[in-house]
Amino acid sequence: MDMSKYRDLFISESREHVQGMSTCILVLEKEPASEQSINELFRHAHSVKGMSASMGYSKIAELSHHLEDMMDVVRKGQLAVSSSVTDILLEGVDALENMVDGVEQDKNLEEIDISSLLLKVLNATEGKVGAAAVKEEQADPDPKPGSASPSAEAAGDRPEVKPQPDPVHIDKEFHPVGGNDLEVRFEIAPDSLVPAARAYLAVKKLESLGQLHHTDPSVEEIKAGNYTDHVTAWVGGVKKDEILKTLQSLAEMGQISVSEPDSEIAQPENSVGEVSKPVDQIVVKSKKDSGPPAGSAKTVRISTVLLDTFINLVGELIVTKSRLNDLLTGSGSRDVDQVLTRVDHLISGLHSEVMKVRMMPLETVTQRLPRVVRDLALKRKKKVSLEVIGADIELDRAILEELGDPLIHILRNAVDHGLEDTEGRGASGKDATGRIVLRAFRERDMVYVEIIDDGRGMDLEAIKTKAVEKGVISRDQATIITDEETVILVCRPGFSTAAEVTDVSGRGVGMDVVQSTVDSLGGSLSIESHTGEGTTFTLRLPLTVAIVKMLLVSLLDHTFAVPITRVARTIRITREELNESQGRQYLNLDEELVSVFDLGELLKIERHTDGRSVFNVVLVEATNRTVGLVVDSVVGQVDIVVKPVCYPIQYLKRYSGMTVLGDGRIVPILDLGNLF
């Protein structure tokens, strides 16, 4: 069977299981006796084993097999969950994750060394199993000598014969010469993976045919997995042919022989050759027709690449349609108008359905966070609890993919700097365990993700001092900026020191990267901090990024796009409404002072505005504040597809991307996080 087509499904399902394992282990750290987590953990390991073995990834199968064994021992109560047990399990999960990544990256798994880990797992499993086994043996004081065998009892009874040094003699003893029993000897095919279970099935079949008087090894031994190379059974009340026919009809049988009570030589009956023939034919047939699997599944998994292609095509369709609209509007033909309206409806229907497919729960990102926080807290010797609320909120996959690193960085900051150590917390009268809450909720078409800690809060004076030192702001600015503005300085490029940069998948992530990531998604970041009480980071995110609504604004003959999710509203103001203070322009809006910037000045586009008495202002949500942006005119709203830009345009820091309008014009998208 061609397994390559199952590779992607294997990767995604394995990851779910590995993630599930990780979650269970973290629960077990807190509640070592959680039966549910123990069972779940076992199941996850088991599933990974089955899938990886099917795919031929023997190393993954081997590790998951041993982890499963270890969990089995835990499940049976033979190994208590301790921190060393969870450490080994977590190491195992990491290794599985690493190998599944390896599969995705087409790496040779054989090059990954897991031998020392395997040894740890085996030691943990076997050490305790051995001890328990000894206990069991001691608990059985009466080994029942063979002479006391209850073998010759009614049909159906299982003889209880304990292992003897020379079973053959024992057999002869209670199987008197001249009895009517047939001596049945059978082997299990050498390639059988579970020969003991096969042997057991065969014994059960014999039992159902007549009176099974004795077997060697005993039924109990077979049940305990003690099958080596063959089973001999003595069966009465049944014909030889019937036994042969029955045993031959079983799968994975090897040599079978049945001898009469008096016959000296057993006559081997070939079973392997004959029986396996039709099997080969079926295999050949199955190779020939490799049609799709029978179609009764309710859900399918498809490649994310395909999904991206879909959304891009829908985006192009939207852009092209708007161009068509421009060209045909006012054609005078009612038919054309009707067709346009219909196409409009169809495309927006298509758009919304495709978008639904792209939505995934936030959980896909947050489920790995407890582990991150746990590891960090251990390293910093702090007690930290993380509570995740609203993980079922759905977001565009493209946003989720970008969200992991920023969340990890914020959490790391919280554990490293935000939360005090145990003594510090005690001194402030706080609970010894620092608390971090990640709360997500939806408000209209935006999703809010808050990371709230109950730590010491940010030290505003220290931030100002450092910002001046680093040249992020001038000494004068430091004296006038508000608390909100001070807090957000930590997001300015150049503020974070190397020690504060999180190493996430091999690259440095500082608060500046967090902010630019959130900005590039069309979202915004705000920070609220109260000394002694803690800090809250709020990420305000759009539901989707693939096809987004933009507000087009113009300066002279240039057009720029502003993500509509960042636009509070557009207003027209008179020159008199603009106040100037210390070289900055303000607008008094609903009792609040709003900074106003001229887009032309920001972008160094020279134009004369001196003679104007009325200004078009777009109020946008910048980091931690609302800002007014003076433009020449507001063009209108459009649906656009954000196009990635490459070197060197990507370094234009005032733009987060580009888009192409229906008429082919290229329009830059303003990066509101880096504009002011």
Partner: protein, 130 residues
């Protein structure tokens, strides 16, 4: 007529693979037809009642209700049910428990299509008097 198959496994990966093994295959003149799939034991029992399949492939380790529990329920509903356990290496004792509970046979992961069909064919031969 077709041979109705119910596939029970918590992993879609496994369900797809097993379905593919049956796809386009016949028992004598009858096509195999996967009539339903179930992700756990509870669903398996429900689907069994609904479809009355000729063959059930039953994973042992599953959430909600294990394969062995589901097997017992199904045997309680229909003592002639043809349930084949899907096991993995090292599950001998669970397999034997299932055999005691009435499972007709078992197949072992990683599945070899030939062996799976072999086991199914033998059971159908036996129960349909072939």
């Amino acid at each position: 007529m077709a041979v109705k198959v119910l596939i029970v496994d918590d992993a879609m990966f496994m369900r797809n693979m097993i379905a593919e093994i049956f796809n386009g295959k016949k028992f004598k003149e009858e096509d195999f037809q996967v009539v339903a799939e179930a992700e756990n034991g509870i669903e398996a029992v429900e689907k069994y009642k609904e479809h009355n399949p000729d063959i059930v492939t039953m994973d042992i380790v599953m959430p909600e209700m294990t394969g062995i529990e589901a097997l017992k329920e199904i045997m309680g509903l229909d003592s002639g049910a043809n349930v084949i356990m899907c096991s993995a290496l090292g599950q001998d004792s669970l397999v034997m428990e299932a055999l005691d509970a009435g499972a007709k046979d078992f197949i072992v992961k990683p599945f070899q299509p030939g062996k799976v069909l072999d086991v199914v064919t033998r059971i159908l031969d036996e129960t349909r008097g072939g």
